[in-house]
């Protein structure tokens, strides 16, 4: 037995520098389960690298030693331990691992149940629904909802994120957040710290109270003030129960007790500027420990944010030009588009539509630039902020950061927001956020300066665990020159990510026509305006509930991804896989 284990370890060691996949957690089935086997080494040394210890603080040529998940030493003259796996970092740059201020990474959206809709309709009195239907589950702990196999974890990690503040999905009060590592085989391995936040958002319930933002705000006031009273009662009773009725227990109010004691902050996700004003007003009324995330559009509330002096986590999502603009302007930059805007335009006739449309597109480009500049303006206003990946596509995050920098955000401020400022605002700056001895071994190793377009991330270390980042596989060129034209025919099994969870949808396309059926709508709908241009498939359907729904998909072989625009709900991502056809 001993011998055998030794053999495996030896093999492992030999294989290490060459075969990274082998070092990573082995896949079940394909290779033997090695979890019983001790890891070869948990000591790493990155030598002769440029080390960005903290924003603005660099070691031009130094070594970082990681041992047992922590940074053991960092500096220009650090000696490499004999048991270390060595990464020669001569051309590499080392940064502290990024920290996501708020997201649902590791908490996949629940699949929508077929019979959820009728259940909602059966509520006896929509004015006082059960807490779960009202979106009131503040007692739920996100640690019980984590899934180690959520593909979103690897997606965020490959762009440098090592830790995240994650919160449950839901409506008004979905539950309590936790700080997690973006690694681990089990939810338990992922958790760094639990019960770090009470998550809230202006997200009304559907068809039951609170069905509007104004009722969500009123409900929050009611819960908070009644929780204050219950807390007072509980405190009196704890001090001396004699002559007092025992306090009633309910999980919804009890979840506010740590907030009232100042031990737990409320993290509010605010999607747009009106939400910011509304939550800040609520904060002024109740004065609870508050953190804000999202903050898209905060360029219109900078003074108010500054006055409120609360930790902020700006979304890493940025608006994109609509397709019609991209097509019509041949990818003209937003700057040149915005320069065409005429604020004084007054068309002479309602028939002069094209002049007005062109001007509206230019106005819209101007508006997009405000979003690009938001981070810079927050920085200039002296606001301390981290970032939130919740609404951002991981594949676009690094590019969006470059856009923020192009529009005025200093690079050091961008790095600080990704690392030390996020750590500070989350209260973990003693443990993370910089490359200092004694801190968690969260590192990002790149081929050059982080925000340069040609820079690639080579390795990410999460609590001392090493992940090699490979370039995403390029779509393989076909041998016979011209790529096969995309074909839409066949049956596609699709998933729509809606605010309610995933909705299963099936597309059946034959020739020039097709149908759509979905768990969300009662009958099969015909596809209208079905069109395929190169690999771009577009169609619309007319639904009873939402009116005209437009869909656009990009086909890649037997998969397709895109969006559907549901009026009143929003633009929702859709992913499809072809399950049958086309005839080859």
């Amino acid at each position: 037995m001993q011998l055998r284990r030794f053999f495996w370890t030896g093999l492992f060691l030999v294989a290490l520098p060459y075969n990274v996949e082998a070092q990573q957690r082995p896949q079940q089935g394909a290779t033997p389960d090695l979890r019983d086997v001790p890891v070869a080494t948990r000591t790493y040394a990155i030598t002769n690298a440029r080390i960005v210890v903290a924003p603005g603080q660099e070691i031009p040529r130094g070594t970082v030693v990681l041992r047992n998940g922590l940074i053991e030493a960092v500096g220009p003259d650090v000696s490499v331990p004999t048991d270390a796996w060595v990464l020669e970092g001569d051309s590499l740059v080392v940064y502290a691992g990024f920290i996501d201020g708020l997201s649902h990474v590791g908490v996949p959206a629940p699949r929508r149940k077929e019979n959820q809709e009728p259940a909602r309709r059966r509520v006896e009195n929509p004015g006082s629904p059960p807490p779960e239907l009202a979106g009131l589950t503040p007692d739920r702990d996100v640690r019980t909802l984590l899934k180690a196999d959520d593909p979103a974890i690897a997606k965020l990690r490959r762009i440098g994120f090592t830790m995240a503040h994650v919160v449950p999905r839901g409506r008004m009060l979905p539950g309590q957040g936790a700080l997690i590592f973006l690694r681990g085989q089990t939810p338990e391995e992922m958790v760094y710290q639990g019960q770090v936040s009470l998550f809230a958002q202006l997200e009304p319930a559907q068809g039951v109270y609170p069905a509007t933002d104004m009722a969500v705000l009123a409900r929050f006031r009611q819960l908070y003030r009644e929780a204050t009273r219950r807390h007072q009662h509980a405190t009196l009773y704890a001090a001396n129960p004699q002559g007092l009725q025992p306090p009633a227990y309910d999980p919804v109010h009890a979840a506010f007790f740590p907030v009232l004691e100042g031990r737990l902050p409320v993290f509010f996700y605010v999607e747009e500027v009106l939400d910011i004003h509304r939550v800040l007003a609520l904060h002024r009324q109740l004065n609870f420990p508050l953190r804000l995330a999202g903050l898209s559009g905060s360029f219109d509330a900078l003074e108010q944010l500054k006055a409120s002096n609360i930790p902020l986590f700006l979304t890493l999502d940025l608006p994109e030009a609509p397709r019609d603009t991209i097509r019509a302007t041949q990818k003209l930059s937003d700057d040149s588009l915005a320069a065409r805007h005429n604020t004084y335009l007054h068309v002479s006739s309602y028939q002069d539509v094209s002049a007005e449309i062109e001007n509206l597109k230019a106005r819209q480009a101007k508006e997009r630039i405000k979003y690009y500049e938001t981070a810079a303006r927050m920085h200039a206003a002296g606001l301390r902020f981290g970032f939130s990946t919740r609404d951002a596509d991981p594949d676009k995050i690094l590019n969006n950061l470059r856009t923020m920098i192009k529009y005025g955000l200093p690079q050091e401020a961008a790095l600080a927001a990704l690392t030390i400022d996020a750590a500070r605002l989350l209260g973990i700056d003693k443990a993370a956020g910089t490359i200092e001895a004694g801190k968690l071994a969260n590192l990002v190793v790149t081929t050059g300066p982080l925000f340069e377009e040609k820079t690639r991330i080579r390795y990410v270390f999460v609590a001392g665990e090493r992940f090699e980042i490979k370039e995403p596989a390029r779509p393989s060129r076909r041998d016979e020159g011209e790529p096969m034209p995309a074909r839409a025919e066949g049956t596609w099994s699709c998933t729509v990510d809606s605010p309610e969870g995933s909705i299963d949808t099936t597309l059946r396309i034959t020739g020039q026509s097709g149908t759509l059926s979905s768990s969300a709508i009662p009958r099969e709908l015909f596809l209208e305006n079905l069109r395929l241009e190169a690999d771009q498939l577009s169609f619309s359907v007319t639904t009873d509930t939402y009116g005209r729904v437009d869909a656009r998909l990009t086909l890649r072989g037997d998969t397709a991804e895109g969006t559907i625009d549901v009026p009143g709900v929003g633009v929702l991502p859709i992913h499809c896989t072809r399950t049958s056809g086309p005839e080859r």
Partner: protein, 461 residues
């Protein structure tokens, strides 16, 4: 003046320029025909505005140095129009899930970006009473706003110091939404009365419980407070007279019903909204001291609104009831001066009486008559300047002034006056399916599909 210019520039540029609440301007309006409403019509008169207030009214006033002058020669200056019933500039209208939702407030969801504020300004409207919808017997609290279009902080819209008001609704709407929609009381007009009495009784018990607690606390520091209830807090404030009721109603019988209920609970102030049959009970309304806000000539959009007359406003006025004409619509609010003129045609009101329907009377109904509603020294400089007498069908609103700041100017009115645009939505889709349907109306937020299948009847305010 500089600040006023700056703001005008910002408006013109379509920029979201951050200007803060209580922004006040200085202006000099020269040589206009001034319709004071409370003090007759003054020809060739100047108005001096200092720090957002009317500082002087008279002929040949001295023009202070450096002040912006508007030449109103040949033009008519009237008090800014006040719309006593509106649903603009808010993100939600109805919390239609419960017959009583006194705890919600549309003031929590003001939307200063709403282009309808600017459109209202283009009709000379400077103040709107922004109301919760009529889905519930006791709906949410309303908000009185000033049309300070260009501000982006929702607080900047609030008319500071305006009394609190709340929406009640009688008749078919709450019965349809809750009774037929969810099989929840009220299923009849009797049920509507029950809901109100029940709510007030609960509020009385709630007040008693807290009073007992306050008494006991003096003797016993370990006293435990009774449960806190946001809804009953608001209802208790109605009983204390701190919140003014504005009640959606149509029929004479239900109007009398509410008067009886209010009398039983010692509530003295009420404004009936719509009240198409109010003319039948005008003496009773006058005796109670109730006020009424009506449409000029809009009816027959559902069963309870058939017995109506265009003489409603005039009959009420002649009976001594303080009466206003409202819009309840982001379209009608742009020509309320036409609506007021109809009361001259139907009922023979004087010009001042007709103008009062859209100025000083709605101000009284909102409890803001000491601030706005007429052109008097010391009042807020909320004014509308028209090309002709505003009761003439040929009148066009040229400029609208709020707190001494020109917020609408017909001569500087480019196509795109929005304060913000969606950065991602295709511009061709700016007008979308459903955007104009049941939007910003009394029944917004109600599940109309479920609702229409039950009634197969069109739904209006």
């Amino acid at each position: 003046m500089l600040r006023a210019n700056l703001l005008a520039c910002c408006l013109l540029l379509g920029l979201t320029c951050t200007v803060y609440a209580q922004q006040k301007g200085d202006l000099f309006i020269r040589n206009g025909t001034v319709l004071t409403v409370t003090n007759g019509t003054l020809p060739n008169t100047d108005i001096l505005i200092r720090n957002g207030k009317i500082a002087a009214i008279g002929q040949h006033l001295e023009v202070p140095d450096g002040i912006e002058v508007i030449d109103a020669t040949g033009l008519y200056v009237m008090p800014g129009i006040i719309d006593a019933h509106s649903h603009i500039a808010i993100s939600n209208v109805n919390e239609a899930t419960n017959p009583v939702t006194a705890e919600v407030s549309v003031g929590d969801v003001l939307n200063p970006y709403d282009i309808r504020i600017y459109r209202a300004l283009a009709g000379g409207v400077t103040v709107s009473h922004v109301m919760h919808g009529s889905a519930n017997v006791i709906g949410g609290q309303n908000e009185t706003i000033k049309h300070r279009y260009g501000e982006t902080d929702p607080d900047a819209l609030r008319m500071e110091g305006a009394p609190r008001t709340i929406k009640f609704a009688l008749g078919e709407n709450p019965i349809r939404v809750h009774g037929r929609g969810h099989n929840v009381t009220p299923l009849s007009r009797m049920g509507v009365e029950f809901i109100i009495r029940d709510a007030f009784q609960k509020a009385q018990r709630y007040m008693e419980a807290w009073e007992r607690y306050e008494q006991e606390r003096k003797r016993n520091p370990r006293a435990v407070p009774p449960p806190y209830n946001e809804r009953l807090e608001v209802l208790a404030d109605i009983l204390r007279g701190n919140i003014l009721i504005h009640c959606h109603s149509y029929r004479a019988d239900e109007i009398l019903m509410l008067l009886r209920v209010l009398k039983d609970f010692g509530i003295r102030r009420v404004v009936f909204q719509h009240a198409n049959e109010a003319f039948k009970v005008a003496p009773e309304l006058a005796a109670f001291g109730a006020m009424v806000s009506v449409f000029a000539d809009w009816w027959a959009y559902k069963f309870e609104v058939y017995y109506s007359t265009a003489y409603n406003a005039a009959i009420l006025t002649r009976n001594g009831v303080i009466t206003s004409i409202n819009s309840d619509s982001p379209e009608l609010n742009r020509h309320l001066y036409h609506e007021a003129a109809k009361a001259i045609k139907y009922g023979g009101l004087t010009e001042d009486e007709a103008l009062a329907l859209i100025t000083i009377n709605p101000a009284r109904q909102l409890g803001i008559e000491d601030r706005v509603g007429s052109i008097e020294v010391g009042k807020d400089a909320d004014l509308a300047i028209f090309s002709a007498h505003p009761l003439s069908i040929y009148a066009v609103c040229k400029k609208t002034i709020v707190d001494g700041i020109v917020r609408f100017d017909a001569d500087r009115d480019p196509d795109d006056m929005r304060l913000r645009v969606d950065p991602e939505r295709p511009v061709e889709l700016a007008i979308r399916w459903g955007d104009h349907q049941h939007h910003q109306r009394c029944l917004e937020g109600v599940d109309l599909i479920a609702f229409l299948t039950q009634t197969l009847q069109s739904v209006q305010p």
